[in-house]
Symmetry: C2
């Protein structure tokens, strides 16, 4: 209807009400404008008065006022000659969960204005600064829970590398919130990482994962990531809620990715829908590019037929050390003394950890499997598993030395070596002790290296192989650290 | 100034001119609106008349009319409740080089309207359909030049997999333009790949890279990629121009990445600025994830200290076959007969190809090196290099058999094997024949596999290793194919 906008803006002008922003999309049955909140009530009265006939006649629906809004304008010369500026702007808003309520950009175009909720203003401002002012240091806001071996190592790595990261990548990793089972600390300027243990002890409030997540959400910071370094199922219970507030997750915790399939799927979809990330690369092979290589193969149209892997650094070490020189139980004992095994080495030797890893890879390939579907050939005789203590276990293991020596000898006679290998073959997953000969990629394994072999439509005659150190707090923490840095590039 | 919009829209309304879209950004000194092109002249007169006093007084600058524009509106319920829609929209516009001239989105928000140049309309429409309607098949528009061994294999692979790609990834790879030295063919519906050789022969027009690029640009299609399967420096001369029109490039041609450093740098920057891709992963290790692994390490804050690689499938094969059973010249002859070498095997044995590859990796790490900076230890005696024909070369090579046998024996006596290895060490690059023992990762190499070893700050005690088939038309074409599929996901 020609004349409506004229009457609308005429009535407002006659009452000295300034309109800050106007936008009317094509074929839209509404016109939207922004004004000083102090004028809102008066403006509504004026409009209702001016259009009283149309309103009572049902020709105009309603005059809706939205409160607590802010206008954010980006101003620059030649913006319209540069495709991509609006893409960068709105992409960053989306990844940070900022709803853009209205947009106005005219063709003279030195100004692109958006209307957003007031509570998102500082988050949006920070985001815009970081994406448009390359000289500005980008900030990744980290909320870390679990300060055990991996979490503690990660905090130390962040602390050690913070200076170098700012210099070389213009990136600041700010740990805003920190919690363990006993205490939590928040500091919106960033927790002092040189003293994180002390701070948790002295200033930490009593904790609770619910309270921690609540505080993180109400801070509403840009580029936020939740890092779960616990092994707690309770924490995993909060993942979906966290992702739904547009906060990414990075975690070495395998519970979500190897637990209930529906949850695993839902978390991935939730992250995707919000344009953020749910990262768990360190679940398999620590920092080695295993899940990312698998996803790249899939994304590039390849079909993964089979995966073989030595996926436990501990078991890799044990079988690499197990020669004619020393008995199996001696090797396991030595590995435990060096801190390479779990406190109870049976938690490595029972194959469950390896089974979880091959399960995760099978799921990433696209198979809907559960842990029960993975066939595990255990290494240990029942007596070892039943032993009531670690000491008793070693007594039983010594009795099994002849059995292991027999296996080793038989392999040796055929020029083969023993390897504990996890396999995914067209959707079937299993874990077993195998005797491999010199042509097998696993034959040459040494140290505590992991090795992952992909057999695909493209890599069919000869496989694609990734090899390297894949266990231990240092490399696992470094893997999470790497995810955080990549995430900051993705968000920024 | 209150009253301006009222007078503006009043004057237009009084003359029965409908305004389709209005947008006035905050603090903007202009107001922008869209109307039927037929009304443009009249509207200008009306406005100049209404504001004649302000115009002559210099208070209003000018009335600017922009012609040949289209309005594109996306309409949907609850758009504003979904952060990320505008990000997706404007991101896709940016990657396709579509300038958004004006934007209007009101707070009732079932409609987001953009104004773009009319010539970009069909490109923009296609793009929007592909990013928002997941049921729609995405299309990647390919312009391929060079139909030799790799290009031809790639065309066959695209043809073979097209059905499966549409089914599993909702992706259509459409070869729109195709050229070799003699002819070129364009088909906006997609060249019939079952008959590409025939079509080029029968319907192909005389070619010229300039004409090919010009036709590609004027088609102005969404999601376009230029695939260079030639080894021509002339084609490389067009890369910058192509990237500047927001068309991505994927190429196994090593000339750009291992030639002039300034050009290499400029091409990368140009692609980055336009939000598109310049892809050359197959320059090293064919389809193996070598450059991508290197970039991921860098991006995740690791520092690459040293790279070691067996980077030539041909030389890998030759040294893996070279045992006490047969002489070096016999092995080379056999490799040539099997088609594993260049027509003149000296082009493999002179080390230049390997030198180019390690140069590319050094540059990706961040070093400003040229080919002259790579120290190459040649394999062949001068007489072999001087030989006037391939036949004469083999005669000379037989004379050198004792020399190679001597090298092999000495290695063998120490339990070592001969490998032709390229190394980048803290910015220095060299290529040499080395004798490696059983602990060395290259010792266990077999077939024509490539192997790349990364030693970084993080992978310092034990390296990160990638291994697999890295040569031949099939895997190289498959690598380019993989890049095309990944690119389509990136663009869409």
């Amino acid at each position: 209807v020609p004349g409506v906008s004229s009457r609308l803006f005429g009535a407002l002008a006659n009452n000295q009400i300034s309109v800050i922003l106007i936008t009317q999309a094509s074929s839209e049955h509404s016109i939207c404008f922004a004004l000083d909140p102090a004028d809102a009530r008066k403006a509504r009265e004026i409009i209702e008065d001016e259009f009283s006939v149309e309103i009572s006649g049902g020709k105009i629906d309603q005059v809706a006022v939205e409160d607590d809004m802010s206008i954010l304008a980006i101003i620059g010369e030649n913006m319209r000659r540069t495709p991509g500026i609006s893409g960068t702007l709105f992409g960053a808003m989306g990844k940070n969960g900022v709803n853009v309520v209205a947009i106005a950009q005219g063709s003279s175009e030195r100004n692109l204005s958006i209307v957003i909720a007031k509570q998102d203003l500082s988050k949006a401002l920070n985001t815009i600064h970081e994406v448009f002012f390359l000289s500005d240091v980008k900030t990744l806001n980290v909320f870390l829970i679990g300060t055990g071996l991996i979490g503690g190592t990660l905090l130390n790595q962040i602390s050690e590398h913070s200076h170098q990261l700012e210099e070389t990548q213009q990136l600041k990793i700010n740990v805003i919130g920190l919690a363990n089972q006993d205490a939590m600390v928040f500091d919106s300027q960033g927790v002092d990482l040189a003293n994180w243990q002390k701070l948790l002890k002295s200033k930490g409030e009593p904790t609770g994962i619910g309270a921690f997540v609540q505080s993180m959400k109400s801070l509403n910071l840009s580029n936020s990531v939740f890092v779960d370094c616990t092994a707690s199922p309770e924490v995993v219970g909060f993942y979906e809620d966290i992702l739904n507030t547009s906060i990414s997750i990075a975690t070495p915790n395998k519970i979500a990715s190897s637990g209930d399939y529906t949850l695993y799927k839902k978390l991935k979809e939730t992250a995707f829908r919000h344009g953020i990330k749910f990262l768990y690369e360190t679940n398999v092979g620590a920092g080695l590019p295993v899940i990312s290589t698998l996803n790249d193969l899939k994304l590039s149209g390849d079909r993964i037929k089979r995966i073989e892997g030595v996926l436990s650094g501990t078991l890799s070490y044990i079988f690499n050390q197990f020669t004619s020189e020393q008995s199996f139980s001696t090797v396991v004992k030595e590995a435990m003394d060096r801190g390479y095994t779990e406190p109870d080495p049976r938690n490595d030797l029972n194959g469950m950890d390896v089974a979880r890893k091959i399960l995760i890879l099978a799921r990433e390939v696209g198979y809907e499997l559960a842990l029960e579907d993975v066939e595990i050939e255990g290494l240990l005789p029942q007596a070892c598993l039943n032993a009531p203590s670690v000491e008793a276990f070693f007594n039983e293991l010594e009795l099994a030395d002849d059995h292991f020596e027999d296996l080793r000898k038989r392999a040796d006679e055929k020029g083969q070596k023993l390897r504990y290998i996890a396999i995914m073959d067209e959707g079937k997953a299993f874990v077993r002790l195998m005797s491999v000969d010199i042509d097998n990629p696993f034959y040459g394994l040494s140290g505590s290296d992991n090795m992952i072999v992909f057999i695909t439509d493209r890599y069919s005659d000869r496989p694609l192989v990734v090899k390297g150190p894949g266990a231990g707090a240092e490399v696992t923490a470094a893997g999470v650290f790497a995810e955080l840095i990549s995430l900051s590039h993705f968000l920024g």
